[in-house]
């Protein structure tokens, strides 16, 4: 597991931290010793395939699910024992676009939720509703999935909480609304001191926004790092190699391809460039090129990497 956030930040200055979080449903492990570290003020993107444990992690932070082992903290508060305090600090969009209060109108629901939050900004709620095309006179029951999702975004943002937990907030929205949503989120970050933890399958949409990334695979957090570290850690190499060459054991790599003649390989490798080049050279290769990857490509590598040897 690659860690750099903790060493750089210490445990202080964290908006979200989980310690050895475990969850099993039936015989299946959903979360396996997850140690999430979301620095205060970060835009942290959590990626992973369906069923990797992203939504379960969010639900535990909201105390909607209990861990079998481990604890979670939001701004240093235990999410189980202090759950009401935690919720007061959080804007949450769930991946289940639930339609609680089906018989009230969207406008009435906004008024209802506003009462719970002293910091509720009614003018901002109106602005968001308009921008996200939430029709306030509509009954919650009659909303489509996408409309319910947009309504929940308004509810999450309008009290300007210090932490936003957004579980797939843009997935399933049409491209135009998705762009609007991202622009609103960016304006929100510019105006408000906010930490954002969000999950998505639309990595390319958020790649310019993210400054931290965490990768869940099969319930394990296999990597989490800052954008700078990610960009410094992953390179696509082209290497001239002798016949029958095998990659040196212990290298973390993804997408190994060999040229038809076998004398050149291309692979994405994890690690400091100098170290990787040294190991490839020692193994008889001649590195022709080490190309940096975009945030999206680099994150995808973390999702698919394997250990050589």
């Amino acid at each position: 597991m690659i860690r750099s956030v903790e060493s750089a930040q210490g445990v202080r200055g964290l908006a979200v931290a989980t310690y050895g979080l475990c969850k099993r449903y039936g015989g299946e492990t959903v979360l396996d010793r997850v140690d999430l570290r979301v620095p205060d003020g970060a835009v942290y993107v959590l990626v992973g395939a369906n069923g990797a444990g992203k939504s379960t992690t969010f639900r535990m932070l909201m105390n909607l699910a209990r861990p079998d082992a481990g604890t979670a903290e939001v701004f240093g508060m235990d999410t189980h024992r202090k759950d009401a305090h935690v919720r007061a600090q959080v804007g949450y969009v769930s991946d289940v676009r639930d339609r609680a209060y089906p018989n009230v109108t969207c406008g009435r629901l906004l008024q209802h939720v506003a009462v719970f939050y002293p910091a509720w900004d009614a003018a901002y709620a109106t602005h968001l509703s308009r921008a996200l095309e939430v029709r306030l006179e509509r009954k919650v029951r009659s909303l489509s999935k996408g409309e319910a999702q947009r309504l929940h975004l308004v509810l999450a943002l309008a009290h300007r909480p210090p932490l936003l937990l957004l579980d797939e907030p843009i997935d399933g929205l049409d491209p135009v609304i998705r762009r609007t949503t991202l622009a609103l989120l960016i304006e929100h970050i510019a105006d408000t001191q906010t930490t954002v933890l969000l999950s998505t399958h639309q990595l390319h949409e958020v790649q310019s926004l993210a400054d931290h990334v965490g990768v869940l695979r099969g319930g394990r957090l296999i990597a989490q790092m800052s954008r700078d570290d990610l960009e410094g850690t992953v390179r696509r190499y082209r290497v001239e190699v002798p016949d029958g060459w095998m990659p040196p054991p212990g290298l973390r790599m993804a997408g190994l391809r060999r040229s038809s003649g076998g004398r050149e390989i291309q692979a994405t490798l994890l690690g400091g460039e100098r170290d990787v080049v040294e190991r490839l050279t020692l193994a008889g290769g001649r590195v022709r090129e080490a190309q940096p990857l975009t945030f999206e490509d680099a994150a995808l590598v973390l999702l698919t990497e394997e250990m050589a040897g």
Partner: protein, 140 residues
């Protein structure tokens, strides 16, 4: 100021934004004392983290290309006018990319220079309106 980012460009975003500001300066669409868009505005337009735009503006300020008027925003420095320094910085970035591309194809510096010359010569025979317009601002 019109800024666009190339999603396939793997360089850090703040560097890309700095280059775009330099480009608009060299081309002349951005003039001394012109205001730059606010951090919030440009971030929302490019869909990038506001911190990234702030970082780009900070670096540009350090280089003396822009300055901050308190409470009013960021402006192009009065003495910046398609100056040699900006052209050089921009040119070095273009050269770096070209050289990287050349090396990948097994070409050296000499080769690259020669072929650039060849391509430029063949283009000069049919100057396009766009290129003529772009070159107009060069006489200083």
């Amino acid at each position: 100021m019109l800024v666009t980012l190339d999603p396939g460009d793997a360089r850090p975003l703040y560097l890309q934004i700095m280059d775009e500001v330099r480009r608009t300066l060299v081309v002349g669409t951005l003039q001394p004392e012109d205001p730059l868009p606010s951090v919030r505005e440009l971030a929302a337009e490019l869909l990038v983290n506001p911190r990234t735009v702030s970082q780009a503006y900070r670096e540009l300020e350090r280089e003396g290309i822009v300055y901050v008027r308190r409470g009013q925003g960021t402006f192009v420095a009065p003495n910046v006018h398609r100056g040699w320094a900006e052209r050089r910085a921009l040119g070095l970035e273009v050269a770096k990319r070209a050289l990287l591309e050349a090396r990948r194809s097994g070409l050296g510096v000499e080769d690259l220079l020669r072929f650039i010359g060849e391509v430029a010569d063949s283009e000069e025979e049919v100057p396009s309106d766009a290129m003529a317009a772009a070159n107009q601002g060069d006489e200083e």
